[in-house]
Symmetry: D2
Subunit: 490 residues, 4 copies
């Protein structure tokens, strides 16, 4: 499989050539998965020295990523296949490094912390444990070639699972590099299998091997398909049509405009947490926030990759969508809506300017328009609307009617306004306050959707425990009291 | 819908006549479910006074069930539609009462306990919350007409969900009585809808309403079907083919035999936690444990309902299965395997003696036999086998190959043996020690399967939080530091 | 010991006559305490059925207090010896009832929840437990004759301790009544000893019996004395000189004034959480908050006990202090500062109007004035001051220089202001927001001082675990790996 | 202050010359401590970026100690002032390294994790936080010159305290080296003051500065004195007279004997967790365990420091105590009881062979003997006794009568025996099972005494939170409901 250079259609060499495993080559993957019991490679009762081994591996890998050499090496690898600014690529590596270092030393075994409660009589005690699922699969996306697969992979390993990892084809070599690092740091080679293949091959593997859980990050279409195929044995972090509400209290206007630009357009809008819709209170409109955002967005340029290729929409598709949304009555393109000039991005990708389209709130809510306006475009595109103080319920109706609930931002320091919005929305990662943003998936707090029992979190202690382990309760009861006599059957 | 008397086919009256809602009558149920937002009837930010209201309701209902009058009233109701001994029926009511009283006063709001972690700079703090799913459905089984639906229902309500409850048709009137009690105790009538219908009507409802999670307790066949239909938006507590291992250390023989009889035959074996397979170490065989169990099981009789009708297998089906298993080479019926004498149980039900069939361990493991031997029979039936000290790995292979992992028992006080078994098995509720049992689903510890991401627990704090709420993280970030200047776009 | 009627010096009868145990009568108390081992009456490993017994006792006692008859009975008992309004007395009973019901059913054993962490090799696991101290003593104050001793007593019992309870002499008969209720609800009589005596007798007992922890609620003078005598084996909830800051954002003025009146004068100011000092931002002064408070305070009258006798200061002492504070340069009496008219309160008690004295902020901070101004007066007295936006650091300096840090209130909805105050103060129970108050010690959250390692909390799960139990870690390690050979000594 | 070479009285040079601060030089220490507010250098609301800074410092220091160069450097430093075998010194460094690495990255802020509970009405929420004490003092002992002060120091800093550290004079230079490392790793110099002085100077400092908590590790005599002087503002980890019980089930005899030798004599018995008393069941006596221990102990020799100087008892004192104990009726020296031959250890120290004295159980229990037998000797000395199955209550009586409860070991795999001992003893760190030991204070589990409210733990998350922070609850309550009207005063 040959991966074309996403920045230069004229480049003579692909960025890499890698295996493309076919269904006829799957048997070793099947056998490897099936070799792992349901109790995993380790659990709180068996092979517990592996917790310490993994703490050591995580620390060493983290130290390498934390070094200047290490972070630059992986940032360059990321940029080669998923063009983003150097700062964004570095950010990805640093979050990954911090995550790995969070699980140094004893911290992997602390993830397996259980609890105990006294029973009914002396000698009885119930104990709750976190058990692994055994053989599992991870299917990871292209936009964060390192961070997303590493955080899920390590979480899976920490809890005792054996992993078959299928990264997005376009960026798979980043994880190949990382796995080599893990092996150097002491990870046994049999802990993880890397599947370089197209999606359907992974689908076939899921049918043939007894995969206990599949963790998928990517589009909601594929997510629903996988859910059906596995009859729900999934943990999904899928599409986000993420919104930001600017509340009635205006302030720190340059900051808020800058953050909005970053949320909508950093990484060329290719983040599942990107700001897809902005609800600006009339006070903010009057303060000129839309002009501010436009002004800042105009600084973005291809040469430093503050805008870059869109990997899942062509330019044509993108512009067609802009056209569709902007033709709603009262709608208008605020800025962007054009192809980038002077670029060599291949035609299979998109090359477009950061774009914002204004649509009146009452039009968004109309049955025919809602699905068009709230369609996720994985690129530098946002819908903007405005509302007055009496229309907050319409804003909340919009939020409620959306189908996926990943990130959100409530830009307000007014506690009443905060509560009104927070109590009536359900996005899994919601930022609130003057500095609220939609993007930002650091390793120190939960990141993931809410409102769906199949939803997956990533990175935090809670996310790892929830996605990669299940509750098991073992009740010890070892002593028949003296003088016991047999009661009647019941 | 007319529910026949399960104990007397000649009875002139059904035990009750109840509505049988049809698909054409579903609209009010659809509308009611859809009236509840995804943020539920309450959540940690909105309508939080409901936590206290529910604490009050739970306490009052618990107090009634705890009263002599209350427990007898519901025990009688249970026995009428699901014949079990008075002691078993009382046990069901008592567990329910204890559960309800566990959530008195502030304890419902304590279920909604969240956490906070300092952020990166002053003014930032991440907070984790437990949010409800909104409109949900509960489909509950016939064997515990009160306990199972009440524990799931209250858990769902506590966390903020609105519930449509569909109990098994045969026993639905018990929950009708209980809902009336809840209303008397102050539960708003709009919190719960009761759907009296056959299964497919519930299936239709799931297609028409936006049900966020469906909690199902029942057969694995229906469980898988629901998983597919809802694409995994389920929490399932399904079939258990539960095993008990008697370890090498023999002692307290009368106790162990009595507990085995209870585990296999109490409630006529109609518990998802019933002992389906007994692995007895040769030392136990020599001590005569099988004779002891037989002796005790022979005390069971229809008149006091220590054996009763089997509601999901006919006598013929049951005996056919006994025949099939006992015809495996080396196998033999240890006791039972006959129809009850002198009974008036309707033909649509089963009327059989407590039965045990011995099958040699090496035969169980054979490809052709395994599925036959490990088929769950929801009645008074168990398979017995024996093993020597060198065969423990074959025993563990059996446990690993089974498909569902609900309860298990390891009857041994030897820590090495305990670890060997516990570290290589995954049953969600595993009892260990001389008093280990497979049945017993009290309100004070987790009860549920492990090893499946769709698995549901019941009753304990962890179970309620896991099944009925999801993680949401809200990151407060309210202060732009003085002197902030806009950095470059990335 | 004869307890005089606090409302009528002419009353012919005392409110009760009770035993006054002397040091020569202490031996049975010594023996009883010493009969309890350091491992308590129960702990997570021994006599664990007592957790359930206590859950039952707590529920039954709670149900009685929750009944109309029960709450009125105890409210009347309280009012007889500690005159407060009927509403305040009822409030005390209701908090107590809610607390007791919080520990129904399994909730006592849930307090003893432990944890487990995997060890270094298979067979090793460390387990944390909460162990009791064994024989303990509780010395409780007069102002909450029921709530304070009950919450501490039950917490002590729940965790496994045996208690000698010494209530304030003036109000001891309330706890005698309550202990009788507990006995009726099933508490073994040997669990608690009631010591009716003056303080020094209790001090003597502490020297003669091996009391492991003494929990004291009362004046800081006695607290420090006890700390020295027991060499720190204490848990103290002592005096509070509690403050409220009204921030720059004015609003809900009637609410804020009403809450200030309640905080300063409810229960005639005899709460350890009473508002002793009010810092009002100039904006609030301009809005007339001081007039509002005065207007509301003038409604208080002896006949409905919204003002009543002060039990620890005479009228003379009180007025002398008012004089002292108001003679500071710039200071003035805002209202009050007079003896009540038409009363029969005995001379040994105080009979004074709700009083507020204004002192300029810069005067408070002066070395000679600070201790006078910040002296706790356990009666209806508060100091008021004002500050401008540039003086917040002087306000915080005041808070820092105070010696005890129980409750505080920050009346502001401005997140920056909130953080500025909260990050620089340390009061253990701090209310923040427009509805902030200093009083309010409900059973649902922590109440207690912060900043002192000897500090005691009351009522909440965390408080009970922290005050009444200690950490014990038991590390199981049961398996010498095969092939182990002895290493060299080290 | 000149520190003599503990191995060679003829050495011409001391191991180091260091400052000996006098009371007249204390003012800078007073000022530095007093410069820190009660809210600490940081807390969950103020200066929260320090959590991340400290995570970084801890990681870097840990990485250095983890390196070959780093661990050898500090092992040599330890051995120079506190002679112990190279393996023991390395062990100390490794535990310290693992501890530091446990708090890499975000793990320091995770220590500050708080919680939230919904309040009574919308807009109210109670939040629990962990707050520092502010200025604190640590007084650390000589036997673990690195591990004990580092673990306590870092815990104190992590939670936000400012520390004045006073290490034992003889070993203070190890911490001087370590502080320099911390500074290199980024710790601000103003976070920690190092006080090189004799004890009384520290006592004076405690009187002059407002030290909020003093953490002391050392002798119980000094511990009690400090408790009195500070009126209980202490956290103490003092003397341990630690016992081991060999239960009735004999097995793994060589392992158990080896572990007993290590527990009693490693580090020349100078561990607060050293085995001071061995209760061997008659079955073990018959198996020859005492001969096994003697055989192993005889391998110890001065040249490799498997036995070394005793720093707090002279040879004479030690032998006098041996004489005293062995003169009890029925008692005898099992081995040792002699001065080392061919040594140059200074006379101010002890130079003795590993020693065991047998005393009959019934004699130990006698009033006059108990205090002699159970006196802690901080050197290579243990008391041995034996018991039969009917005498377990006498063994437990011994354990109960001891005054301090640090570590203990229950060498048995029998669950009934385990429960009998564990349920009736209270040692804070108790090992149980065939591999049970008394020594071993790794960073992964709690280490500290139980049964005393002043007791301090070390190293684990729970220990850090308990010793170095206090609970503070902040209740947000920001919204006056519309239509609120003022109720009557109460």
């Amino acid at each position: 499989m040959s991966i074309p250079n996403p920045l230069n259609k004229h480049a003579s060499n692909p960025i890499c050539i890698q295996p493309a495993t076919t269904t006829s080559e799957l048997q070793p993957f099947v056998d490897s998965l099936n070799s792992c019991p349901k109790t995993g490679l380790h659990n709180p009762i068996r092979n517990i020295d592996r917790y310490l081994m993994l703490g050591d591996v995580s620390r060493k890998a983290g130290e390498f990523l934390k070094s200047e050499e290490g972070e630059e090496y992986f940032a360059r690898a990321i940029m080669q296949c998923m063009p983003k600014s150097h700062q964004q690529a570095l950010g990805e590596v640093r979050v990954t490094a911090n995550f790995l270092l969070n699980f140094s030393s004893d911290q992997v075994r602390f993830l397996a912390r259980g609890f105990s409660v006294p029973g009914d009589h002396d000698g009885q005690e119930s104990r709750g444990y976190r058990f692994p699922y055994g053989p599992v699969m991870i299917i990871s996306p292209f936009n964060f070639p390192l961070e997303i697969p590493v955080l899920q992979l390590m979480g899976a390993l920490f809890m005792g699972n054996k992993v078959c990892l299928k990264p997005a084809e376009k960026v798979g070599f980043v994880m190949e590099l990382f796995l080599r690092l893990l092996h150097d740091c002491g990870l046994p080679k049999s802990d993880v299998d890397l599947l370089n293949s197209v999606g359907p091959v992974a689908g076939e593997l899921l049918q043939r091997a007894d995969v206990r859980v599949t963790q998928f990050t990517g589009s909601s279409t594929v997510g629903e398909l996988l859910s059906e195929q596995t009859r729900g044995k999934v943990k999904i972090e899928d599409a986000g049509f993420d919104w930001k509400i600017l509340g009635p209290d205006v302030g720190d206007t340059e900051y808020v405009a800058w953050q909005s630009d970053q949320d909508a357009y950093a990484c060329t809008g290719q983040k599942c947490s990107a700001q897809s819709m902005l609800f600006a209170h009339d006070n903010w409109i009057e303060s000129g926030v839309l002009d501010d955002i436009e002004r800042i967005a105009r600084d973005r340029k291809l040469e430093d990759l503050t805008v870059g290729p869109v990997l899942t929409h062509t330019t044509e598709d993108f512009l067609e969508h802009v056209e569709k949304v902007s033709s709603i009555p009262g709608a208008k393109v605020l800025f962007g809506g054009k192809e980038l000039s002077d670029h060599n991005i291949p035609e299979c990708y998109g090359a477009v300017e950061p774009t914002a389209v204004y649509v009146p709130l009452e039009e968004i809510l109309k049955e025919g328009n809602f699905d068009v306006v709230c369609k996720e475009i994985f690129g530098p595109f946002q819908v903007v609307t405005s509302y007055g103080s009496s229309e907050i319920s319409s804003v909340l109706e919009c939020c409620e009617r959306m189908s996926h609930h990943l990130t959100a931002a409530v830009v307000s320091n007014d506690p009443s306004f905060q509560q009104a919005v927070l109590g009536s929305t359900v996005n899994g990662t919601t930022y609130v306050g003057r500095r609220a943003r939609t993007t930002g998936a650091p390793q120190n707090h939960w990141f993931g959707p809410a409102g769906d029992p199949r939803g997956a979190g990533i990175g935090s202690i809670e996310a790892i425990q929830m996605v990669w382990s299940c509750h098991r309760e073992i009740i010890h009861d070892n002593k028949v009291q003296e003088g016991w006599t047999r009661p009647k059957c019941t």
